[in-house]
Symmetry: C2
Subunit: 310 residues, 2 copies
């Protein structure tokens, strides 16, 4: 019997057959933006079918299908996701109807990434772990006693939306001061843009060929390595708030491990430098030890691996 | 068989015999500040002995002794508490030696209060609950699946130390911007003092007979009811940050219920007014429902009741 993991993203649906923690067959399909429930189901069926064809197996050979969704999933597997046009649609139930003999599990994608790291990667062996995905936004996944935790109504572990300070721009969620407005790739870009608009000179502007809309987080980290002053200010601010966010995670959940993933974690040498020492100084009591900070192992495959292990 | 609950505070140790959720016999003793491990053990033995004498029973009639401590308790029951002069002392082990046939459980006092509310009070029937004790500081207690949760090293649920903003004074823990520097009785008093020092006129100053050191949170709430402008500013700021703190609790843990206790909760009519509507507007998705906000049922007896139920 085989397990399939499906990673439903805002732009593509990716699926994989996972054997012993390895993806042996892959399939993917682009999704239409805010397409709706019927189309999402069709796309999921399509990628499952592709997997079966490639592996030359039948649907009867599948025991579990796990699905990660970039949205809020309630206890009954109903999903709300603006990017896919899902408004409380009963995804888990519908797939159970289509595949009656297969175990179907639907989870929020950040929790799915946390499961991948817990099961196969950087959080393996730890009972309490928190995953922070620093990408376009900040995603959070909580593992307690080996299981993903998303609270009573599916809106827990939305750590990107804990509030850290007042900020110069408002979060997509409508609030001001969310963690993700300080510590995402978007946050890095917007603060660099702000400093440039204020007249600061920087290598970043040349890297972006004079178009601030083309600035990326990578450019900021590259300029930082060249001692660029604006880049240093942007990185200093980013690191200050990453520390604050992590301190809130520790004083809330006190995990054994915090795993940092997402595109920004590619600059791990810069973002981790000095972090653990500062945490030890700021924590209210460290006599019993404090969470270890690690970089996530899986990049693009976390969604498939985690979903297959749900 | 009987259960004893012991509430070790910074100024007194209180114990009670709890039968069917009621405290039938009480005993207490003042403690010396930062007295040390030996003295704390002596005081605990003293209050237990008093209970036995008053009830005319023997130590063999006791099955469980639960103890709440205002400090960090690790997995092995070792305790760190500045106010009592405890530095990683093996409290649970020592009491197990003294009372070998009795189950001994030691927990952080905020978690103990949460257990009392879960077992007998405002959080009864809810599997995931968070208790916020707004007193001199802000204490936090987390209940997950009926059990207190304090993380991997005993420093979880320290919700008073999640960071919400920058503040004009530094927290006792050494960090700036902790929840408790915005939403404790101390925070209310300090902000009122700040506004008075800045030259604002207010009834609060008269209530304190011209001595700002005598200001209490109750005076601020009393002045608020008399439409005092400074009191309104203090309460507005308090409520703004209470909302921010609760939003972080929701986006982190997403509990079914949040119970607010501590001295500040006596002004429940003021602090709860409009709160649930604002939460519903600010939460990232409320289609599945959102935490209910309630006022804690137990005041002084929460420690004894909760400890007896550990």
């Amino acid at each position: 019997m085989y397990n399939i993991g499906i990673d439903v993203g805002g732009t593509s649906i990716k699926a994989g057959l996972v054997e012993d923690g390895n993806i042996t067959v892959k399939s993917s399909r682009d999704v239409r933006k805010a397409c709706g429930f019927k189309e999402v189901i069709e796309d999921i069926e399509y990628v499952i079918d592709e997997i079966l064809k490639k592996k030359k197996i039948k649907i009867e050979d599948i025991s579990t299908i796990g699905i990660g969704i970039p949205g809020v999933v309630d206890k009954t597997g109903c999903v709300n996701c603006v990017n896919l046009g899902l408004k409380g649609d009963p995804l888990e139930l519908k797939l159970k109807e289509k595949f009656p003999n297969i175990k179907i599990v639907v989870e929020n994608d950040a929790n799915v990434a946390a499961v991948a790291e817990y099961k196969y990667g950087s959080m393996k062996g730890y009972d309490i772990g928190v995953m922070l995905t620093l990408g376009t936004g900040v995603g959070g996944g909580i593992i307690i006693n080996g299981k993903p935790f998303s609270g009573a109504h599916g809106i827990g572990s939305e750590i990107g939306h804990i509030i850290l300070d007042s900020n110069f721009y408002t979060c997509n969620c409508g609030n001001n001061g969310c963690f993700e407005t300080f510590c995402s790739a978007t946050a890095i870009i917007r603060y660099a843009q702000k400093l440039i608009k204020e007249g600061r000179e920087t290598l970043i502007f040349n890297m972006a060929k004079g178009d601030i809309e083309k600035i990326t987080a990578k450019m900021v980290f590259d300029a930082y390595k060249k001692d660029d002053e604006v880049a240093r200010d942007v990185v200093r601010r980013f690191k200050e708030y990453l520390l604050k966010g992590i301190m809130s995670v520790i004083h809330f959940i006190d995990p054994e491990v915090i795993s940092i993933g997402g595109g920004v974690s590619n600059a791990s040498d810069i973002i981790l430098e000095g972090l653990e020492e500062k945490i030890k100084k700021r924590v209210i009591y460290n006599g019993n030890g404090v969470a270890k900070i690690v970089i996530a192992e899986f990049k693009n495959d976390a969604g498939i691996l985690g979903a297959s292990a749900l």
